[in-house]
Each structure stands twice: as structure tokens, then as C-alpha cells.
Symmetry: D4
Subunit: 217 residues, 8 copies
């Protein structure tokens, strides 16, 4: 067991691959660790950030014909992309998904899904054992109870996983505001999905574009 640190351990867009697992109606119906609207919002924000930074994203569901299709807020980000449907609850035992991930050639595996303690925990733990660097995006995930969510986070930490939240992932991919091309796309994502910062940004732009007034309030 070693500490996971150093500059190389930070997420880089060119080395990252995102896997979104089972953001489906059956699962969401019993998420009790988060406000469901925030789970949808955070996952959509994460998906758009991945797209903005050119991070390949794998979409997968479990028996979607019964448990329901992936949230449209996610599929709309990737029009036309195949969603890999499985019977395995543990995504990492499904060859199609793992092959799709491997095909990207990337080793920084970023995972979010429903539920944290089942559909996220199992592939995370298995992949760690196979040498992957795995980051779990906890606030784009959710569990059947607060305890289920938190205990799963502790279990995955003990397995060597890296824990983050969606806006931190996006900021780590950006890393330097001097990278202007992605900054614009990221700002758009923030405005839609991290409203506390998005509205502050719009205010900043409004005031910067206001000629200096004679006096202040």
C-alpha cells in the first residue's frame, strides 16, 4: 500500500477515460444519498466536461429494456453513441466494456454510476487489482442510503481508489486557465451545471464590460 501522490497522479485529459455506469431509472428510484436532480446535473456536467477535454466516454447500462434507458441528459451529450447493455452487475466482468476502455489506450480510469456501493464499487475494486489507476466521482454517483454511499467510499479507498467530485475533475483536466480553448467550453459547462460559480462568472463578465462609473454604491 503506497501513497498516491505526485504530479503524475493528477488527472490529465489525454490519459483519462470516463465510464458512466447505470444512470438508469430503476437505480435512481432508490437513490437516497443525494437529491436526484443533483445526481443528474452533476453527471451531465461531468459528461460535458469530458467531451470538452476530448476524454473518451463509455456509456453502459444493465438490462435497459427493463430497468430503463440511460438519462437523456447524458445521452444527449453523445448523440448516436452506443450504450453497452449488460447482464453483469459488475461492469468489469463484461468483456465489451473492458475492451472498449482498453481500446482507448488510456490508464486513468474515471468512474461514476448508480449505485455507488454496487455498480461503482465492483468494477473499481476489480480494475484496481488489475493495475488501473481508478478515480471515482462520488457526486455523480449515489447509493440507496447515505451510509451505503459513504461506506462504499471507505471500501474503495481501502482498495486504492482515488475519490473526487465532478467539478474537481473538470478543474484538474483544465489545470491552467491559460489553456484558453478548453477554458471557454469549461466555462459553458460551469454556467449550466455549477450555477454558484456560473452566475458569479456571468457577473464578473458583466462588470468587466461595464465602463468605470463615476462613483460606487
Amino acid at each position: 500500500m503506497t501513497f498516491r501522490n505526485g504530479l503524475a497522479s493528477l488527472l490529465r485529459p489525454e490519459d483519462s477515460v470516463l465510464v458512466l455506469i447505470d444512470h438508469q431509472p430503476y437505480q435512481l428510484a432508490n437513490v437516497n444519498s443525494h437529491e436526484p436532480q443533483m445526481v443528474i446535473n452533476n453527471t451531465a456536467g461531468l459528461a460535458k466536461a469530458a467531451k470538452a477535454f476530448g476524454v473518451p466516454t463509455i456509456l453502459t447500462t444493465v438490462i435497459a429494456a427493463r430497468g430503463g434507458l440511460l438519462f437523456p441528459q447524458i445521452t444527449e451529450v453523445f448523440p448516436g453513441q452506443e450504450v453497452i447493455d449488460r447482464t453483469f452487475i459488475n461492469t468489469w466482468e463484461d468483456r465489451t466494456v473492458v475492451d472498449a476502455v482498453k481500446a482507448t489506450g488510456r490508464k486513468q480510469l474515471v468512474i461514476a454510476g448508480l449505485w455507488t456501493e454496487v455498480c461503482v464499487a465492483m468494477p473499481t475494486i476489480q480494475a484496481l487489482g488489475e493495475g488501473w489507476d481508478v478515480t471515482v466521482v462520488t457526486d455523480a454517483s449515489g447509493g440507496v442510503s447515505v451510509e451505503a454511499h459513504q461506506v462504499a467510499i471507505q471500501r474503495m479507498i481501502a482498495a486504492g481508489a482515488n475519490m473526487m467530485t465532478w467539478l474537481a475533475v473538470a478543474a484538474e483536466w483544465q489545470r491552467d486557465w491559460a489553456r484558453l480553448e478548453q477554458a471557454a467550453a469549461l466555462t459553458e459547462v460551469i454556467t449550466q451545471h455549477a450555477g454558484g460559480s456560473g452566475i458569479a462568472f456571468l457577473w464578473e463578465q458583466q462588470l468587466l464590460n461595464t465602463p468605470v462609473p463615476a462613483e460606487a454604491r
Copy 2:
């Protein structure tokens, strides 16, 4: 002091007028009673519901040149509509706003704004004294602390105000799912802004449109 009850006390679209107050960057920057993204989400949902039911909506800000423009998530619902800018913190002391409300001829006044304890409380309390039936939408509002928000709710209740949350207002305007025309519009709002219900609805539609399978999971 009388109980507020009876069928007539329920909100009706044709008698309602919505006033959205000071959903601006300066105010949002110090909202600590709610997740800011949820305040934006709930207010946008409320605005769209009002539009769907033909409820006139008054938009107002305080010194927007400094404190920032209304959230675009709100103004986009009402393209081209004037936002009344004030210097009065208490909206109800501003003649332009009150005249606009009176011009609608409606008496069920629905208010949301930032902050609950200032920009919502003052007009609510004044209007109640002038005989208006006032409903405050608490989750499309927000205060500088949980205590500020909750104490303001208790104050407004003691002033005779009616407390609701945004989805309850929308459902009360709908009242009967047999009113099909608004139901479709409302469902769209729910899908976007009340994701826990929206995703459940999409699942329902998917499954209803699935031919009966031979056997079940």
C-alpha cells in the same frame, strides 16, 4: 387571525400572478441555506410552470448594473420581457412593480426571491397587510443562512403568508391530470427540473411502449 383553508384557498392558474425578485449574482453569492444550483433549478422550473399555465410573471431586480443581471435561466423563459430594476430593497414600495402586478387583475400573489429574509419577507408582509393572498415559494428562494431562511418563513407565517415549494405550486395549478394540454407542458418541466420524477416518467413511457414480453426479470 383565521385559518387559510377551503377549496378556494388552493392556487388556480387563472387567479395567480408570479413575482420573481432579485435572483441576481450579488445575492446568490451569499446564499447559504440551499445548494445554489438547486435554487437556480427550482426557480427556472417555477418560471416555466407559470408560463405553461399562463400565469403572468413579473421580473424585478435591485440595481442590476451593480448587483448583476437576473439569472439567464430565468430570463430565457421570458424572452424580451422587461425586468423592472429598483433601488428599493422592499419590492412592494416600488410603484412600478406593484402597478404591474395590479394590472394583471389577479389576487393570488406568488413570490420567490433572494434573500428569503429580506427581499421576499418585506413585500410579502406589506402585501398581506393590503389584503393580498400571498404564497411564498421557499425552495425557489434562499437566505444567508439556514437560520435566516427558516426564521423568515416563521415570520411570514405569523404575517399570514402561505408557504409552498415549487413543484407543489405546479401540481396545484395542474390539479387534474385530465387537463391534458397543460399536462404535457408540465411533464416537460418536470423532466428538466424535477429529475427524480422526470426520469421515472420517462421510464414509465418506455415500459408502457414495450410490447408485453414473454416472461419477467
Copy 3:
């Protein structure tokens, strides 16, 4: 507005009628104020207590062909009983339900349902205006958020409703442990649904039925 007090204001089985509203899958899927299992448990406990005390119970749903059937944990308590299906969101605007309630000849109306802020609030407020004595069972109900649930409780209090929780309703119907026939039935309900008390009761019985030992721990 008057205080609701006095011996006559307490619930009596012979004057009570219970209405259970919209305990359905679509609604439960977005309950975020309570652990869903507890809502089911509490509602089943309430239903069984009503049955034990001979309190007539009206069951109703809204468009069950789409939003799903009443929880089986409830319908199993009343085998063969009709569930009144409505299109009105506001149960009290549905003639069939109101007639069924009136047919019982009882005036202490006890209501629980999903969601607190919609399906419970509207009939409660309307019935209060028509002179009914209305008690809402808050922990056999649930809302889309903690705030939605709590604000609805405050609204219904301001409308004159009486707020209780399920075990308190059951105990108020019992009133005197000397009423032995119902006590046995109530104890069975408690053992199944109020486990903290049920297990304590079983322990009490075990120890009472233990011959006095020579010495103590």
C-alpha cells in the same frame, strides 16, 4: 382561528376514517424526505392499526395504470377492497372518494399519502374548509424534499390541520391498555412495524415468563 384541544379533540376509533392516498411507485420514486422503506413500513403499520380498531379505510390512487398500483404491503391488509382510481390530483375534488368517506358517517378524517405537499395538502386544506376535523399522519407520508415535506406541514397547520405520526395515532385509538381485545392486535402491529418497541415487548414477555432466578447478572 381557535386552539384545537380538549378530550373531544383526541382521536377515537369509532369516529375515525382513514384515507390513504397515492402510495404508488411513481410517487415513491421521488420521495426524498424519508427512507422509502420507512414510509412503506409506517403506512402498513397505520393500515393494520386502523383495521385492528375497526376504522374504515379508503384506498385511492391516481392513474394507477400508469403510475403503478398501490403498494402490496397496503392492499394485503384489505384483501379484495376496491382502490378508487382518480385523474384529479386533489382527492377531495373526486366525488367517489368523498362519497365513500361520507358514507362512513365519521368526522375525524385521518390522511396519509405521497406526496405530502401535493396529494396530502390539497384534500386536507379543502376538507378543513368544509368543516372536517383533519389529522395528517406525517411519517406515513413523504415529499420530494425535506423542505417540501416540512413546508407542507406548516401550510396545513396554518389551515387548521392536526399533525401526528402513525404510532401516536395507534396509541390514541388504544387510549387505555385495559381495552384488552385491541391491545393484543396493536401489540402484533407494533412487533412488526415499530421494532424498537416490538422487540422490547417480546423481551418483557420472555422475562416475565422466566421463573425468578437465584441471582442476577
Copy 4:
């Protein structure tokens, strides 16, 4: 029992008198409803706002030789002002304090103190019975437990008291940002004591005083 509403019910600086009660070390040592630093901060902010709006402020302690002197953060706002020391726990039974309040000729009595459930509740309830309009500033007060604080608020509401938080009182005294003289003083108070808004204000001023740049972030 009547609703407290209408424009006249809002606080006005010229009709207000502030009484700060027992913000002393012995009391603060067992405040468990709030972070002590926030109680000090909020009370100092309230005191400075009163001073800025010319609201007379009465300072009082109970046996300060033993329980300790008023917080310096309060006394420094009113250099040289007498602090009335009492043996009565109930401030309103102390003639000196009541005479001092009456001498101001004002009828909007604003009270904050430690503890909410003792030193604030008793004078509030007594003064209400004598016809005063009493506002309690809950977040410049504090109790020995969260329950003690909240139950006292409910008790005082049932006695007819008006509940507010410190920043809401200050904003209500301001009422209109066009009143420029007090606005500057209030802004200074906000910068020191309502940092979330104060920092936002400083940012606003910085950006307003920045010439329009060529392009935006």
C-alpha cells in the same frame, strides 16, 4: 391573536430601540446552539448597524462582577456607554432598563441576548403583554442546546413576538439603497461581519473600477 403584517409592521430606524442582554462569558460558555464566534460576530454586526442608523441601544448584564463583562466586541461600538447591571434574570422586571427603553420614546423593541430561552424569552414575553412590538434577533442570540433555542423561538412566536436575523434587521432599516448616507455605513458593517456579501461587494467595486478589457476569460 392577529396576524402581524402591513407596511407599518416593518422595522424603521426612527421607531426602533435595541436591547442587548447578557452577552457575557458565563452565558457564552454553555451556548451550544451556535458557533460562539458567529454569535459574537452577529451581535457586533447588529450593534454597528444600530449605530449606523441612529437606533438607540441599551446594554445590560446580569451580575457582571461574577459572570463577566459584556463582550468587548459590543462595548467597543459604544465607547463610554453605561452597561446596566442587574440581579433580575428577567430584564423586563428591572426598572432601570425599562425606564431607559421608555425614555427613547420608541415602540419597536428589538432584542438579542444569551440565552434565547431565558434572558431573551422572559423580557420578550412580558413586554409583549404590555403592548410592545417585539422583534427577537435569533442569530445574535443563543441557547444551551439547539432544542432550547428552537423551542424558545416557538414559545415567543406563540406570545406574539416577531422573529428575524441580524442582517435582515439591518436591511429592513436600510429599506432603500437610494438612502446613500446609511448605505455606506451599512456596507462597511457587511464587509466586516457578513463576509459572504462583503467580499462580493468588494469584488463588484473592483470590477466596476476596472476599465473594460479587450476580451473576457
Copy 5:
């Protein structure tokens, strides 16, 4: 419905009578609204304060032979006093208890018990209807859930009851620290049961009895 305020509405030792209801093992085993040790501590503190101020205290249980004897921490305060055992869950329907209360000739009825929503709520509501002035001591009570406890408080407020916490009752009985005889007894109670204040008091006494040192820390 009238506001309960004015000096006469404050509790006085000579007009108060305390009724402690069902602080028994069976009830405590399913208290989930408070830490059980705090319920015992607060009730013992309340009992001792009553004794210190000469407030007569009625002790009662429901079927103690099965549900267990009153906590010894309470009975030890009143050695030899009869505990009235009932079968009625609603204490106020038991003639022995009501007669004992009436025999004291006092009209300020102070009640605490387990559970808040059953054993406290019923007698409180009935007694209010018969003209008693009833104060409920919420933190010397407890319910089967936080919601059960809080909803019961709201119900009793709507019935006209006065809500307080134990230390506030004790301080209101004291009213003036110049009443030295009770002050000593109250201080002893605080030292044992309100440790945050008790320890602060002991410190105060230690330092006051320390000769002035040459310099400070």
C-alpha cells in the same frame, strides 16, 4: 386563539405543579429523538429544580409491573413518594392523577414524559381544553423518532400549550439571582445536570477566590 404573553404568563414556583409521566424502561427503549442519557439527565435536573423551589411533583407510570419502574434517578429525588400507576395511556383520564394535581391548588401545569407524541400529548391537549395553563418540557421528554417528537410539539402548540426546556423552567422559577436561598440549590442542580454551566460556575468561584496575582497569562 390568543397570544400567551405578559408577566403573569411566566412560570412561578408557587403556582406550578410538575407531572412526570412514564419515564420507564419500555418507553426509553424506543426513544430515538434524543440521546437516552440526556433524557434521564434532563428529567433528573428538572425534578431536583422542582424540589428546590417547592414545586409539588406528581409521579406516574403505566403498568409498571410490566413496562418497568420509574427511573431511579427520578425516584431518588422524592424518597418514599408514591408513584401512581395507571392503565390509561392518557394520564388525564386517570382520576387519581388529576385529583392529585387538583389537590395542589395550582394552575400552571408543567408536564414531561415519554413519549412526547403519546403520553405527553394526550394529557396536555385534554388539560388545555379544561382551562389549564400547560407547559411541556420538551428536552425532559422524547419520542420514537425526531419527526414524532417535533410533530407532537407542533400539535401541542396548535392546542395552546407552552413549550420550554428544563433549564429555562428552572431559571424562570428563579427569576432573580437576589433570591439567594433557592439560588444555592439551583446552582447545585446546574453543577450536576447542566455541566457546561456548572463547570463554568465552579471556575468562576475558583478564580474569585484566588488572590489577585502579580501578572496574567
Copy 6:
């Protein structure tokens, strides 16, 4: 200290053995970390899942003649099975229990019990030292306070234990929905004990079995 990860570290029914410890009345009477009904529910759900997957389950109590018998909700799952009674608080120092576990020949030891910090922590820590792979099911356990429960979890993590919640254990045993025989049994458990998912499943089945209607809501 090594990370616990890899496919082999996931729970398998054929390698698991479940030990349920001290789910007794004396212990439950002072559980304050969870709602008691949920502890009973979760433990019963876990027990039924174990049975469904053929996982041998050891039942044990400590001095049941005094502290009470195992909850009937557990013993009813295993009719006629012996419950091993101990005097050792630490189950792992009781030869009978350890021998029973060893007799199963399984090495994935799954433990739940009351209290987390005593009856679960001690055998977990001892067994880990003897080379067992130990998983603690935290939500089928409970402690005397939230802090006691959480600190014990942290202690057991530092000892090398794996933390999970009951539904995650069941899902990990299932692993693949293509294993149809257990899926049916698991679904029955979920319907009874994980109502948020159970009700969603029943809805899914209802809608799948509904012929495609002409139009949608």
C-alpha cells in the same frame, strides 16, 4: 498493510459465511446510531439473502436468558437452527462459534451485530489477525451513538476489515442478473426489505405486462 482489491476480493456466495451477533433486546434498547426498525429490517434482509444464495449463517447471542432472544425476524428465516449462546462478549473467543464457522470451510467472513463498537469490533479485529477476510455489514449493525458506530468503523478499517452495507452484499453475491434462479429469490427479498427498489421493480413488472396503449400521459 496492503490494498484489498481485485476480482478475487469481491464476495462470492460459495466462499462466504455469515455470522449474526447479538441482535437482542438488551442491545437494541440502546442503539442510537440507526432507527431500530431499519436495523431489524436490514438484518432480516441480509439473513434472507444469505439463505437465498446458500451462504451458511451462524446465529449467536450473549446470555439470552437475560438479555433476550434473537429477534424473531431473524430466527424465522432459519427455523429450527440452533442459536449459540455465549458468556464471552467477544464472539471470537468462544470456541463453539469459531468451530462452527471453521466447519463451513469458507474464508470470506461476513459479520453484523449489535453493537458495532463492541460485539462486532472485537471478533472482527481478532479474526483479521488470524488471517480471515472479514466484511462488516454496517447497516445491519448499530452502536450506542453515531460516534460510537462511526469510530468503530474507522477502527475496523485500520484493522484491515472490509466495510459494506446489506444490499451491496446481496448484489455482490448475485453479480450477474443472468443467474436467474437466485435473481428471483433476491427480488423477493428486495421487495420485502428494500422497498424503494422493490416497489420500483413491481412497477416495472406491471408496466411491462401492460399492452402498449394508444397514447401516453
Copy 7:
């Protein structure tokens, strides 16, 4: 970094030594992580348990002449015992304390104190570096905020410390209820300080000593 597990890692009375640090008025006055009465109660319970099991206890304060004497609830457990007064905030840099601990010849060091993040954290971290096996009793400690307390726990875990709560320590020292002599003393401690369990025990004894009745409730 190694896992701390195995039977030998459990606490044994004959190998334990308890150090209680700075349970003084100055420190308690700013404890905001716990109810102060519970901190006093838990520390007294821990002290009495140590005494019951013959665990030597070192008492120490920092500048007691100014910051106040140790709580009498602790010193009363050890009449006449010296309290070592220090100027070092870090107890482990004080030779007198460390020598006293070493003189006991025991290696299982159990520490509790105020504040967790200062007076507990420093000696814990230093002693761990010197090879001691250190257990921190978190609920007999307390910090200036919930975050301060919890972050300190995480820091000490990262330093190798073992985290427990007071009742778990007592139960681990007992280990087997067959050790009757200490069991009686421990039961007395539980009755006084772990009331939820103490009252349950008294009930158990009452019922066991009740002759079997003819019938049950």
C-alpha cells in the same frame, strides 16, 4: 504502516493505563463538537470503569490556577490523587506525566482530553512515534468544532492511533460476562452513565425477579 489487529491488539485491563488530559473549565467553555454534559458524563464513566478494572489513571491539567481545576466528576473518582499540572500544552513533553505513565509498566496507553485536536493529538502522535500502542477515547474528548474533532481523529488514525468510544473500552476490558466481580462494578457504571443500557438492565432485573404471572399483556 501495518494493520492493527489480532487478539493481542484488544485492550486488556492489566496492560492498560489511562491518561485524562485537561478536562478543565477553560477548555470546556469552547467545546462545540459535543454536548458538554455528555463529555463530562462520558469521561466520568470512563474514569469509573478504569477504577473498576484496576487500570491506573493519570490526571493532568495545564495551568490549573488560571484555566481551572479538573472537573470534580473526575477527581471524585480518585479521592486524594495528585493532578499533575503542566505548562506544556503537549502532555508528552512533560517529564512528570510520562514518568508516571512509564512507572505503571503498561504499554496500552488510553487517552482522552480537551481538545481532541490539541491536547489529545499531540501526545498521541508523539507517543506513537516512541512505540506506544495508543487508543484515543473520542467521546470522552471534544474539540472547538465538529470539523476540528473529526479532522483530528483522521490525523491520529494516519499516525497509527486506535480510535474507540468510552463504553467500548469498558466492554473490551470486561471481555467476558463470566468475570463476575468486575461485571457488577461495570453494571453500576453503566446504570449511572450509559442510561439507555442502565435502565434496560434495571428493567431486566425487575422482570427476572417477578414471579411468572398468569397471563401477559
Copy 8:
């Protein structure tokens, strides 16, 4: 991975260097893990403590011309000191900051900033990989949500970082109250920023300087 313990691991003023990162308006506008006023207060307290102990402090911002200047409560502590402005979000990729830190020749790196999960996490993780001993001051930091803040703390712990809160850092720098010169300065900081302790200290001084009275309260 090794435990971080031993006397040498405690913070020493002469080996510490403090880096304050991005305490700016844009960041504060979306801090939702803490009360913003407390973040400002704690950071100012930490800055003053560093100054009192001669700990060099590096101040840095990201694009201050847009996101706003450092809080004046911080810059006022270091009049005239340069604030290093960056475009890198990750401070540790900015040569100017790292060179400034290295120039101090100190190896105990203490970091606080906004947001915990972005501007604190990245430099902490990178610096740890380069061999620095890094302490994060969590309550002088803040994140966009409670989960973002807490998950970042868990991530940094897994990277080997040391977690503390501001007052603990100050006390660890002090270490011994016999160091009188810094004690006075630290006391001044506590009085301003840790009011619960500051007010207690002032009381202590008042009482110590009071001649012993004839009798006590």
C-alpha cells in the same frame, strides 16, 4: 506508506511555511461547505498566528484582475507584501510560488485555500510527491459542497497529507505556555478569532484581577 507520527512530525514555527491560496471573491461565491464568514475568520486567524510565530507566509491568487483580489482581512495582516498572481490553477506548477516557498528553506508546508478540492488538493498532492511534509488547514479552506470538501480531504489523506484545523496549528506552534512572548500574541489572535476561547480568557483575567470577595454567588 508509513504512519506519520513522532515528536518530529509535530509542527514547529521555525520549520513551517504557510501558503494561502486563492481566498478570492470568485471562489468564495460558491463555497457551500462552510459559513463564508467563518472561512474568512479562520483564515485571518491562521495568518495572524503565522505572523506571531514568525512563520513566513506566501500569498497567491489566480487571475485576480478577474476573480478578485485576496480578502482584505488577509492582506491587512501582511501590509505591502506581494501577492503572487497565477494562471495555473495548480499552484505547485507555478515556478514563482514554489521558488518563494523553497527560498524560506523550510520543509513543513502548511496550506489553506479555496476550493479544497481544486486549489488545495493539486499542490498538496504534487508537493507530497516531491517529498514535502504537507499539512492542510481544512477550516481555513472550503469547497463547493460538503461532499467536495470531505472527499478532497480523504483524497489528500490517501496522498499522505496531514489534516489540521487552524486553532490546532496555532496551538502546536505555541506548544508550551511557558513561551510567554508568543503566548501574548496568540492570546490576542484567539480573542479576535476564536471567540469562544477568547471571551473565556477575558473572563479569567477579569476574575483573577478581582480581589477575593467576602462570599460567593
